[in-house]
Symmetry: C2
Subunit: 214 residues, 2 copies
DNA sequence: CCTGCAATAGTGGTTAGCCACTATTCAACC
DNA sequence: GGTTGAATAGTGGCTAACCACTATTGCAGG
């Protein structure tokens, strides 16, 4: 699988040189450039077309995520591995949607980075175990449900669902919207059918599960 | 207000020296020691009794939070300022409960640290604006409600409340606990009374609001 | 023009959950 | 040995929410 050309970008000089040292120890890897901000990293990627770019997310001017989106959007062959300090969900999901090949937590051992590079080299993706919880079960299902809400429901239905999630009764909602309680009840029924829910209070349970996200 | 003796602890050499440089620029501040892990920081604090200890939370052996708890528990006069990368709620709440005087996000400007030191010197507390959202309104009320649940409810009642929060009906809960649905209903009634709730589905709403925290 | 969708409104029936009682058993505590 | 608290169980009444209908108005698109 020949020579792997890599670019490393991190605004932290110490961490950057640590990463460069570590990956340089691998026989088939050559670090062709390094950068201390996102803009410089992007320019180097365009100029040198490396196989892999290892980017810190938290960088000045352009974040690693910004660079990843630009590069991947322009359909270069360069694979992206993102590094971050933060164990937050939103960055991760954003990164996954933009199609990066690797996503690592900085705290983790350097071995994980090498493992990640090996994976990405062979066309796979690699994600730190800490983030895997964001992928499966609940959060997948949750965003799927949100998708359903956004696509299937009419504007009025969304408003009513929101009000239900705040714990309001049909009578209260009717008062707020200046319509008959029967109408609200009817909307409830339609929402329930569209989302394929059933059972008592199923709408209340559903809407409260989505909480802030509505 | 004389000379301020300060200890700085951070496992990241670069960041540590950055902090030391910055605070040393202040005329009335002397950095009397620095440490690269929590254990060393704790020993220095005990030995030197500084006015303020600036501790990174993420450190080997003992975390900054561990050190803070030990020091504050032993009623030394040393004030604690914690630094962290992570914008998570749990660490912050934990820190607030243990009584630290400052809590800062590392991303923020160095000016904030100096401002924080000035505040703490005068006996006040200082918290990065990013965390202030965790203090007021909702979360205060929420933990108050959690307190009520913990103190007022019997073990069985807590179990039933948990099951309600998962969206189960009285009949389902009765099956799970091998008791009569009437008993479950009775418990519901008692819980509702203890927590001073009222209205249809008030228990469901209440329990779902507490979500994971039960 | 007509079809379809959204929003409105109504009727009637079923049920889960809330509310207010009463009652028994058992264990703990003074 | 009486009191208290927890858990158990039951009855009867009430209502919000669900469910399944029907029906009208109005608007947008082919």
């Amino acid at each position: 699988m020949g020579q792997l050309n890599i670019i490393v970008a991190d605004d932290h000089p110490l961490y950057r040189s640590g990463v460069i040292d570590a990956v340089s120890k691998m026989p088939n890897i050559r670090v062709v450039a390094h950068a201390e901000n996102g803009m410089k990293a992007y320019q180097e990627i365009i100029a040198l077309r490396p196989d892999i770019a290892i980017l810190d997310i938290e960088m000045p001017i352009l974040s690693g995520l910004d660079v990843a989106k630009k590069v991947l959007g322009e359909k270069h062959q360069t694979r992206i591995i993102l590094l971050t300090m933060h164990k937050t969900k939103s960055f991760f999901l954003d990164a996954m949607e933009s199609g990066v090949q690797g996503y690592l937590l900085k705290d983790n051992a350097i071995e994980e980075l090498l493992q990640c590079i090996a994976s990405v080299e062979q066309g796979n993706t690699f994600v730190s175990p800490q983030f895997k919880g964001f992928l499966n079960n609940q959060d997948e299902a949750l965003s799927e449900e949100l998708q359903m809400v956004k696509t299937l429901l009419t504007p009025t239905e969304k408003v009513i669902l929101k009000l239900i999630s705040e714990g309001r009764t049909s009578a209260e909602i009717a008062d707020l919207l200046f319509v008959s309680p029967n109408t609200v009840d009817n909307h409830r029924s339609n929402i329930t059918k569209k989302l394929k829910l059933e059972g008592k209070n199923s709408l209340l349970k559903f809407s409260m599960r989505l909480q802030n996200e509505l």
